[in-house]
């Protein structure tokens, strides 16, 4: 069982390799492999969560080299939570994708698995450079996935996404160079210890390193003014891909939480970038709400809702109390799953509307209007934070934890604007239908996948208390970086 920590990386990795080996395009075999691997992630992630829930931080020394010299994987509550969330999101997305979207281009299943490998790796690694490597793994896979399918819009969105992220990767390398060049280490825990002892030039350079990483993570997380690429890219991506991408921005958020909660948690650099993060988070939140209102396609609207959630979360992160982080994590779970579900839903809507696709214009009614309408209504309620679904619980938790009038204003105001946008969209799509759409029935598994994701929102509300408690436990551990450092470097190393 000691190897369980690395399983979330290796399972998709090997699945991806096997899929790569399968050259005869036996689609059913591919689907089976992909689904099996993704399914396997869920018990693994649950096992890891259970392991982490004990409060003990698991450390896996790759190559049997001890930290800080070798690379370590670290399983604390935060990483376990993120891995679990990824698994829960990925399965429905893949089921949806296995109903035909996977045929719209080559290598869908392989890329999907390797994307999961990258995401899980990024969540689990305890090493700064290894984080970069896993970022690249998940990025390159996401490039491939974002471009899965055809169409100029997708290519254009893809080009923008790729170029920006390549520049981001370059910046990340500069930041890593500075990190290593000042502290002489790459292990996050060791870095945390060493960075708190820096002074003079090295301290200034380490600060620059932190700020540059901050920009990089901000780009991944899609913060103002670095989110502009996201709506087009996500809206044009194939639905299951867009759904999976709901976790991608969260990787950026996770990275900020991890790096700033751990690596830059001590010494003169504690709280680095927190104030600007606060401001930027609010601007992101506000502008994304405006984007929701101004969106002219459903997919684009959902993408903006995703950006809104980023703003919401980042503000919670910037507040950086354990309570705020706990509330933020709850909201993170909620927004990831709901936005993922909404991306799928947008696609289901698109399917029945022919040429009009997901444009928010009156047109033929989507196939399965009744069911989709109910799902849309529920999703909209959840995502804008109206009761009784998880969005409300998350929002209340955040507001209680972050008692800042400005935040409340943005959170509630943004919610209202989004509500207006969504009510317009919903009434156009489901009420203003000018006739029946294509006759085809809704595809069962597709619908089931969508329902599965959206059904998490009542579940998260009903079992809100245990989930919140778990999130608070995660946050509690997170806010004591010393625990992490001791676990990685051995007790007594930490001065924090």
């Amino acid at each position: 069982m000691e190897h369980l920590i690395i399983a979330p990386i290796l399972i998709p990795a090997f699945a991806g390799m096997l899929l790569l080996l399968e050259v005869r395009e036996r689609q059913r075999l591919r689907r089976f492999t992909g689904l099996l691997a993704t399914l396997a992630l869920i018990p693994v992630a649950l096992g890891l969560w259970q392991q982490a829930a004990t409060g003990e931080i698991g450390v896996y020394q790759l190559g049997d080299w001890r930290a800080p010299f070798g690379i370590v994987l670290v399983l604390d509550r935060l990483s376990a939570l993120m891995v679990l969330l990824t698994a829960v999101l990925a399965l429905p997305a893949l089921i949806y994708g296995s109903r035909g979207d996977d045929r719209r281009g080559a290598n869908f299943h392989g890329l999907f698995q390797l994307q999961l490998m990258g995401i899980n790796g990024a969540f689990l690694t305890g090493d700064l450079f290894n984080l970069f490597v896993f970022f690249e793994v998940l990025l390159i896979a996401s490039y491939g996935l974002a471009l899965h399918g055809r169409g100029p819009a997708r290519v254009k969105g893809g080009i923008h996404y790729v170029v920006l992220n390549l520049i981001g990767s370059a910046l990340f390398l500069v930041a890593l160079g500075l990190a290593y060049g000042t502290t002489g280490t790459l292990n996050m825990a060791d870095f945390a210890v060493k960075v708190s002892e820096l002074e003079g030039n090295s301290l200034d350079l380490a600060r620059l390193s932190g700020l540059l990483m901050w920009v990089v993570f901000g780009l991944k997380a899609a913060l103002f003014p670095l989110y502009f690429w996201l709506p087009a890219t996500y809206a044009s991506a194939t639905a299951p891909v867009a759904a999976l991408f709901a976790i991608m921005t969260k990787v950026g958020i996770y990275a900020i939480a991890r790096v700033y909660g751990l690596a830059f948690s001590g010494g003169a650099l504690a709280g680095l970038g927190r104030d600007p993060l606060w401001v930027i988070a609010l601007i992101t939140l506000g502008l994304a709400a405006v984007g929701v209102l101004g969106a002219r396609r459903l997919g684009e609207m959902v993408a903006y809702l995703l950006v809104m959630s980023v703003g919401t979360l980042m503000a919670g992160l910037a507040w950086s109390s354990p309570e705020a982080l706990g509330a933020m994590l709850y909201y993170l779970i909620h927004s990831t799953l709901v936005c993922g579900g909404l991306f799928l839903l947008a696609d289901l809507v698109t399917r029945g509307r022919g040429e009009l696709a997901d444009r928010l214009e009156a047109g033929p009614s989507p196939t399965g209007r009744g069911v989709l309408g109910v799902l849309f209504f529920a999703g909209a309620i959840a995502v804008v934070g109206l009761p009784p679904l998880s969005g409300f619980v998350g929002k209340v938790a955040l507001m209680q934890a972050v008692p800042a009038p400005l935040y409340w204003l943005f959170l509630l105001g943004g919610g209202l604007i989004a509500l207006i946008g969504l009510s317009r969209a919903g009434s156009t799509l489901f009420w203003r239908a000018t006739g029946d759409g294509e006759e085809r029935r809704l595809d069962g598994p597709r619908l089931a996948a969508t329902v599965a994701l959206l059904a998490t929102t009542p579940a998260l509300a009903i079992w809100g208390e245990p989930v919140l408690e778990a999130c608070l436990a995660v946050a509690g551990q997170w806010s004591q970086p010393g625990l992490y450092i001791d676990a990685v470097l051995g007790a007594g190393e930490s001065a924090l």
């Binding site: 000691e2 790569l20 080996l21 050259v23 190559g63 800080p68 010299f69 890329l111 390797l114 450079f129 290894n130 490597v133 896993f134 690249e136 793994v137 390159i140 896979a141 491939g144 899965h148 170029v163 520049i167 981001g168 500069v174 290593y180 060049g181 502290t183 002489g184 030039n201 090295s202 200034d204 350079l205 700020l211 901000g218 003014p225 670095l226 502009f228 087009a232 209102l293 101004g294 969106a295 309620i381 109206l386 409300f392 619980v393 209340v396 938790a397 507001m399 209680q400 409340w408 509630l412 105001g413 209202l416 509500l419 207006i420 009510s423 317009r424 009434s427 009420w431 208390e465 919140l468």
Partner: protein, 944 residues
């Protein structure tokens, strides 16, 4: 009995009608299925109601989200009992009414479901004992009313009305949430009981004004108080049962319910008085005035509702206990007469096919029974004695006379109240006269109208009977309920009051008389008033709101369109601007003060550096001459390799050199399909902006590099140098790091390479590009696709290059080299074969698909890593040993070598997968195909 079950019942009930509909139940059965659970709830309420009447407060609580302070806590006290009875009682009547109202082809199941959802939400609002729970139900009323108002979704008015209601009440709901959270902050709990007991603390808190404003915003929007009243008339687009329900007993009453509920908590201050009274007064008069001028039957009722809500609000604002009781009383009365009026209006609409009072005339002759009911209810609304409206209105007049908060201006309140009364009488008179008398109907869509079905009248009859009963025998009917409700509202003892018809000749009576007479007078002057009104500019709130919303949406679209303008250049500029900002704020001359000794600069380095700088800048300047740019960028790569050579990094130099070759091939492959050059298209501004960003970012990174190089640091690298040989079994520390210490990075890295190859394959699949038939100058391509000399030399180079690859691979662990470089050399050698002999020729000699090569490479690396599990070690733990063979001597076998073989295979597979497929592109092209295959066998000559 647990109160939560009570609240749950309507929600559960919402599932029944759609089910019944699915099983094709009759309309009556549908209505029964809808009514079943609310009726049960009403029945179940009897027992707790007894306790409440006896003076108890029934509480029940379930845990839901204790860490948020959000529990499923319910209370039944006088106030909530009164409201619960209204909600359930009138709700049942509405269900009955709707049974006849809805047309046969309408989705009654869905309608009842929405209605019951709404009923449950409303019941939740009035019985919540937790402030957050109250907000939950509050928002649920907004959401379910959205569905109800938009029920006739094919109707544009219904959609817009629904959205408007949702927007306005949604705004209020959010404000209320904020207010409640603040109350929770002050009180330290969200328990309603505790909050009610902490009125003094709340009023004393600095947050009080904010709390009050937020809560009032919630209340005013919900109760359609001026200036948030405009949504209500447009909500009339809903089916009439909905209007009857929402705008008499429920939705809008939620707002005034909250005024009552929070009365002990928030009332009693001057701010309360000012805000609540002012809003109430404005609403009272504005609503009444507007009601008078409506030609739409439901419009009149809607505005009258607004006006009456203003009255109730005003009463609460007066800060006297009696006024609060009067307000509660009027809530009951208004619910009964307004519900019956709406139903009557619905009947009329149903029977005549229109709601336009200019066409509906003289219905007395066609439906006298309905006319009587409607007239009685109208009279109650007008405040005619012997009807319930009179009683509460009398109290209202009396209370306006008591207030002295306005000092010398105190007369304004009774005057306003009287004016409201006058108008109220006037529009009630219009409802009676204009509809049932006033000549003959004009051009009715349905003619002649009849009395409605028997049971459609029953709810109206019941309600009208209640109006009369309360009006005549208040003490016997309503007094008990009012007493407990009043007590609960005030949160203490009830003031002295008498519910009787006759209080003697006093000022309130005079005001009532003035109102009645004045109202009739005003109505008699209606033609003149209508003419005057017709000349006023029309204010269509719907239109304004819709336009405003559209404008806002357009603005939003424009703003986000401006930000997200679809231009990558802008996005990149934003990203770099952020970086520049970071650099400009953080960099300074202090960074140039490093203590580390500098290495001496020599001429060779200087010139080589200059070469690189020139080549880099030239690449940037000449980028439009693309082939030239490729050449100059190659120079950059070459000099970078030299830098690696110079500064003790032979591995890097080797890697850089071989990557360089592959990259150049890649770029040239792409150039075939891309324009050879582009014209200048950046304006001066853009170029100077870009130059600025380049200088800042480039300069910044340079300064950081200098600062870093000139400061000392301690590194973990000593460990690697010490342990490479004993622990990793190799002397080339860089390689040992790559395959052992940080083998996991390498594992990720080859995965990246593999994924890139997969992604590229996917991108190239079915890609259609036109192969240019001639070069940029228009010259047709040369005929000789596979020049002899190139072909003949390149082939023996292959085994030679493979030999060199083996050499580089084998020595990698101990000396510069390794799997990467070996892989790249092999790839280049194979690519050369592609260039020389073509895809077709290679196709017979190489695997058709390189996917498995990549996969095998990755699997080998992965399996090597997993194999260490067998020995109880973590992933990628390496092992090595020395083997002695006769003749050969001692040599080392390391598992890292296996890993490195995986690296080798991946690199070869991925590189070829990328480039060979890119090369195949032209084969797909119809035009280029013939030419490409021309020389396929060139150089093959004889024998095979």
């Amino acid at each position: 009995m647990n109160l939560s079950i009570l609240v749950l019942l309507p929600f559960l009930g919402a599932a029944l009608p759609p089910l019944a509909e699915r099983f094709r139940a009759s309309r009556t059965l549908l209505a029964l299925s809808a009514a079943a659970l609310p009726a049960l709830a009403l029945a179940l309420m009897v027992a707790p109601a007894r306790r409440v009447i006896a003076g108890d407060t029934v509480l029940s609580s379930l845990q839901w989200l204790p860490s948020l302070g959000l529990d499923l806590a319910f209370r039944l006290d006088g106030l909530s009992l009164m409201f619960a009875m209204l909600v359930l009682g009138i709700g049942l009547l509405i269900i009955l009414y709707a049974r006849y109202y809805l047309a046969a082809n309408e989705k009654a199941g869905r309608f009842y479901a929405y209605l019951l959802l709404f009923m449950g939400a409303m019941l939740g609002v009035v019985t919540s004992d937790n402030l957050l729970l109250l907000v939950v139900f509050w928002e649920l009323t907004s959401l379910s009313s959205f569905l109800l108002i938009g029920f006739w979704s094919h109707n544009s008015g219904a959609r817009k009305g629904a959205r408007m209601a949702l927007t306005v009440t949604g705004l209020g709901g959010l404000a209320l949430l904020a207010g409640v959270l603040l109350i929770g902050q002050v009180v330290g709990s969200y328990s309603l009981g505790e909050a009610l007991a902490s009125g003094d603390a709340i009023r004393a808190s600095g947050l009080y004004p904010l709390i009050l404003c937020l809560v009032l915003l919630g209340i005013f929007t919900k109760s359609a108080q001026f200036p948030f009243h405009f949504w209500l008339p447009h909500a009339m687009a809903a089916p009439t049962p909905v209007s009857a329900y929402l705008h008499s007993a429920t939705m809008v009453k939620a707002g005034v319910f909250l005024l009552a509920r929070f009365y002990p908590m928030l009332a009693g201050t001057n701010l309360w008085f000012d805000l609540v009274t002012l809003a109430g007064m404005a609403t009272l008069i504005w609503g009444a005035l507007a009601a008078l001028f409506q030609h739409d039957l439901k419009g009149l009722l809607a505005y009258s509702t607004i006006s009456h809500l203003g009255l109730i609000t005003l009463l609460f604002g007066l800060n006297t206990e009696l006024a609060a009781v009067a307000a509660v009383f009027h809530i009951i009365n208004h619910a009964t007469f307004k519900a019956s009026l709406f139903m009557a209006a619905g009947i009329i609409d149903h029977e005549t096919g229109t709601r336009d009072m200019r066409r509906i005339n003289g219905l007395w002759r066609y439906m006298p029974y309905t006319a009587v009911l409607a007239m009685v209810a109208s009279a109650a609304m007008a405040g005619v004695p012997l009807l319930n409206g009179f009683l509460s209105k009398e109290m209202f007049f009396a209370e306006t006379l008591q207030s002295d908060r306005l000092g010398a201006m105190s007369w304004v309140l009774p005057l306003g109240a009287t004016l409201g009364g006058v108008l109220s009488v006037a529009y009630s008179a219009r409802f009676i006269h204009d509809v049932f008398f006033n000549g003959e109907p004009v051009n009715l869509p349905k003619f002649p109208p009849h009395e409605p079905p028997r049971y459609m009248k029953v709810p109206v009859e019941i309600l009208v009977a209640l109006c009369v009963a309360v009006g005549v025998f208040p003490a016997l009917t309503v007094a008990g309920l009012l007493a407990v409700a009043g007590t609960a509202t005030l949160g203490g003892t009830l003031p002295e009051y008498h519910l009787s018809i006759w209080h003697g000749f006093n000022l309130p009576l005079l005001m009532s008389v003035v109102a009645l007479v004045g109202g009739v007078l005003v109505y008699s002057q209606r033609q003149r008033l209508f003419r005057w009104h017709a000349r006023l500019p029309e204010i269509n709130a719907n239109l304004i709101f819709e336009r405003a919303m559209q404008a806002v949406a357009r603005f939003a679209g424009a703003l986000s369109g401006r930000l997200r303008n679809g231009s990558l250049q802008t996005y990149v500029a934003w990203l770099l601007a952020v970086v520049s900002l970071v650099l400009l704020t953080q960099l300074g001359p202090h960074l140039l003060s490093g203590e580390r000794a500098l290495l001496p600069l020599d001429g060779v380095a200087l010139l080589a550096g200059a070469m690189l700088i020139v080549a880099a800048v030239i690449t940037a300047i000449l980028h439009r001459h693309r082939m030239t740019a490729i050449m100059s960028i190659s120079v950059v790569g070459l000099v970078v390799s030299l830098v690696f050579v110079r500064f003790s990094a032979p591995d890097l130099a080797l890697t850089q050199l071989s990557v360089e070759v592959v990259t150049v091939m890649l770029l040239i492959l792409a150039m075939y399909f891309l324009p050879v050059r582009t014209s200048a298209e950046s304006g001066v501004f853009r170029v100077s902006r870009d130059l600025f960003l380049s200088v800042v970012v480039g300069g910044g990174v340079g300064v950081m590099a200098f600062a870093m190089m000139t400061s000392d640091f301690n590194s973990i690298s000593g460990f690697f140098l010490e342990n490479a040989k004993p622990g990793g079994g190799g002397t080339n520390v860089v390689n040992v790091i790559l395959v052992d210490f940080r083998g996991f990075d390498t594992f990720g890295e080859i995965t990246v390479l593999g994924i890139a190859a997969m992604g590229i394959y996917a991108l190239l699949k079915d890609l259609k590009l036109t192969s240019p038939g001639a070069d940029a100058t228009g010259r047709p391509w040369a005929r000789d696709a596979h020049p002899l000399v190139l072909v003949t030399i390149s082939r023996p180079l292959l085994p030679l290059a493979l030999l060199v690859s083996v050499y580089i691979f084998l020595r990698g662990h101990n000396l510069p080299g390794g799997g990467f470089i070996a892989g790249l050399v092999t790839s280049v050698a194979l690519l050369l074969q592609y260039v020389a002999s073509g895809v077709g020729w290679m196709h017979h000699r190489m695997p058709g698909d390189y996917h498995p090569v990549v996969a095998l490479g990755l699997l080998l690396a992965g399996i090597t890593g997993v194999a260490s599990w067998l020995f109880g070690h973590p992933f990628l733990t390496s092992t090595f040993d020395y083997i002695h063979w006769p003749l050969v001597g001692k040599f080392e076998v390391a598992s890292a070598m296996l890993f490195d073989t995986g690296v080798f295979l991946t690199v070869v597979g991925a590189t070829l997968l990328m480039l060979a497929n890119l090369g195949k592109l032209s084969l797909l092209d119809d035009k280029g195909a013939g030419a490409a295959y021309d020389g396929d066998e060139t150089g093959q000559g004889g024998g095979a």
